[in-house]
Amino acid sequence: MNIVVCVKQVPDTATERKLRSDDKTLDREAADGVVNELDEYAVEEALKLKEAHGGEVTVLTMGPGKATETIRKVLAMGADKAVHLSDDALHGSDALSTSYAMAQALKKIGFDLVVLGSESTDARTGVLAAMLAERLGVPQLTLANKVEVNGSAIAVQRLTDYGYDKVEASLPAVVSVVEKINEPRYPSFKGIMAAKKKPVETLGVADAEISADQVGLANAWSEVVDFAVAPPRAAGTVVKDEGDGGAKIAEFLASKKFV
């Protein structure tokens, strides 16, 4: 099975994240780049599927030159090869144009299954899996907390607020996974050393047959008009227990859908 796992390099959530004042895009130089944490679950699931069904796992990332660090880490975890979609023309692409560019790259790479995380911790749109499936004309099985492949059939449990849906489709397909699905592995020393020798193909806009007039900041359908620093977190609500403390806690938890 030819599995492509899409990963994104994002600024470390533990550090202060900034937007650039000039073009209002993410300042990728201001923070350390790390693998989007939610993508690590996608990588783990892709590796597990490969171990169970054979085939190979290709990492696909779109990002500046610095994103090679992310590629190396995923290769160290066990992916076989990587495709790095990198071009200045892609800078500032919104979700729609990113999905277009990624779809073009995926058509070029070829795939039976595309696996993604549920969202990126920087943009947090969570729409890429659906958009990719639409653009590629294949079924989308999103927010999976369990994936089963049987021949050319694929079934997932889609996590919902009330339990889960059973979703079935046939390959090729696009799957996105939630963090409950597995425990991502750590790269081992041997994996890290082996990753040095694994092939990484860099594709520019022209290589992936992407029309430059459909990507980048100038062609984005959505625009960041203005932004401001988030206000400091307000003090929490203090509930005084007058015999009804338990009920108030339950009420709060229910309002947040925890219970």
Partner: protein, 340 residues
């Protein structure tokens, strides 16, 4: 000579940091100190899975080494997280077994076990054979031998099997110190003496790296504490006397680190032993100084057993003289310079 870690070495270090952060080492350390070894051994196995112990084992026996630079990277993280267990001792045993090769009947079997994390080893060196004669005195203990699968004793130029004896009190309760009961001679002769010298140097190098990591963590928690702890209406870190102390700790550690890396790079050269000793002197003194400063910056709470920094403070003091005190290693640097 290149002292900067490459991307792979950094990724390996970061991976270990993540694993150890998740492992909640303080509870593992307290368990180990009380003789509850299982959580510590489980951590041992998961570290072995990432390849930490394979770094000391040659490729012919299923390892990836010997890779001193990567070992130093790993031991720095082991120190930063104060991981309990005879890691440096196992590295020394692996070096010894590798050097003795076919002279030992079960040598390659043990090496494979070490690489895979199945064999936890300890070593008693009643004298430190790598040091000049007057500085060789050591303690006749095998660290954490009560948790080890393989305990060896270097007795002059004889290598003996050994068993853990009575556990003695230790400066760092998470470094358990059983005496050893000597068993059969496994090998003897000048080859044992030569192998023991290199094994000793590897143990010293690993310990020096661990010390820098211990010191680093003590500095990190002290800086955090100085930013959070308020006195006279402001964080204590705003007072120069506190700032200068912390800066001194940082300078000491930053001077020790390149010596540790430099010693790792000189593995295999005639200067390896001297460089290892120089690294141990600097790392011992820097980590111990960091521990004293950490204790002072934390004030009275730093003395409490329940507060986690105590686990690192005690380790710094114990490692300061483990595998040879700064004075012993300084004697070797001096004799090697005098002889040159």
């Amino acid at each position: 000579m290149k002292f900067i870690l490459d991307a792979e070495q950094r990724l390996f270090g970061e991976t270990l940091d993540k694993i150890l952060t998740e492992a909640d080492t303080p509870s593992v350390i307290r368990g180990w100190a009380a003789g509850v070894h299982e959580p510590g051994l489980a951590l041992w196995r998961s570290l072995a899975e990432t390849g930490v112990l394979a770094l000391a084992v040659p490729e012919s026996a299923g390892g990836a080494g010997p890779l001193p630079v990567e070992l130093v990277t790993a031991f720095h993280e082991l120190g930063r997280h104060a991981v309990p267990g005879p890691y440096a001792e196992t590295v020394a045993v692996a070096t010894l077994l590798d050097r003795l090769g076919d002279e030992l009947e079960r040598g390659s079997e043990w090496l494979e076990g070490i690489a895979e994390g199945r064999v936890v080893a300890s070593l008693a060196l009643p004298t430190l054979p790598a040091l000049p004669a007057p500085a060789q005195a050591s303690a006749p203990y095998a660290l954490d031998a009560d948790a080890a699968d393989l305990v060896l004793l270097v007795d002059g130029d004889a290598l003996r099997a050994a068993a853990a004896g009575e556990v003695r009190a230790s400066l760092d309760p998470a470094r358990r110190l059983p005496s050893v009961v000597a068993g059969d001679v496994l090998a003897a002769g000048p080859s044992v003496a030569a192998a023991a010298r290199v094994a000793c140097d590897m143990g010293v190098l690993a310990t020096a790296a661990q010390l820098v990591g211990v010191g680093r963590r003590l500095l990190e928690v002290s800086v955090d504490y100085a930013k959070a702890r308020q006195q006279f209406g402001r964080p204590i870190g705003e007072f120069q006397a506190v700032k200068h102390h912390l800066a001194d700790a940082l300078v000491g550690l930053e001077y020790a680190r390149p010596l540790v890396h430099g010693a790792a790079v000189s593995y295999g050269s005639p200067d390896f032993g001297r460089d290892v000793s120089a690294a141990k002197v600097a790392a011992s003194e820097a980590a111990y100084a960091a521990a004293k400063i950490a204790l002072q910056v934390h004030g009275a709470i730093g003395y409490t057993d329940e507060y986690d920094p105590s686990l690192w403070i005690r380790k710094a003091r114990a490692l300061h003289s483990a595998w040879g005190s700064p004075a012993a290693h300084r004697a070797r640097v001096i004799s090697s310079l005098a002889g040159a």
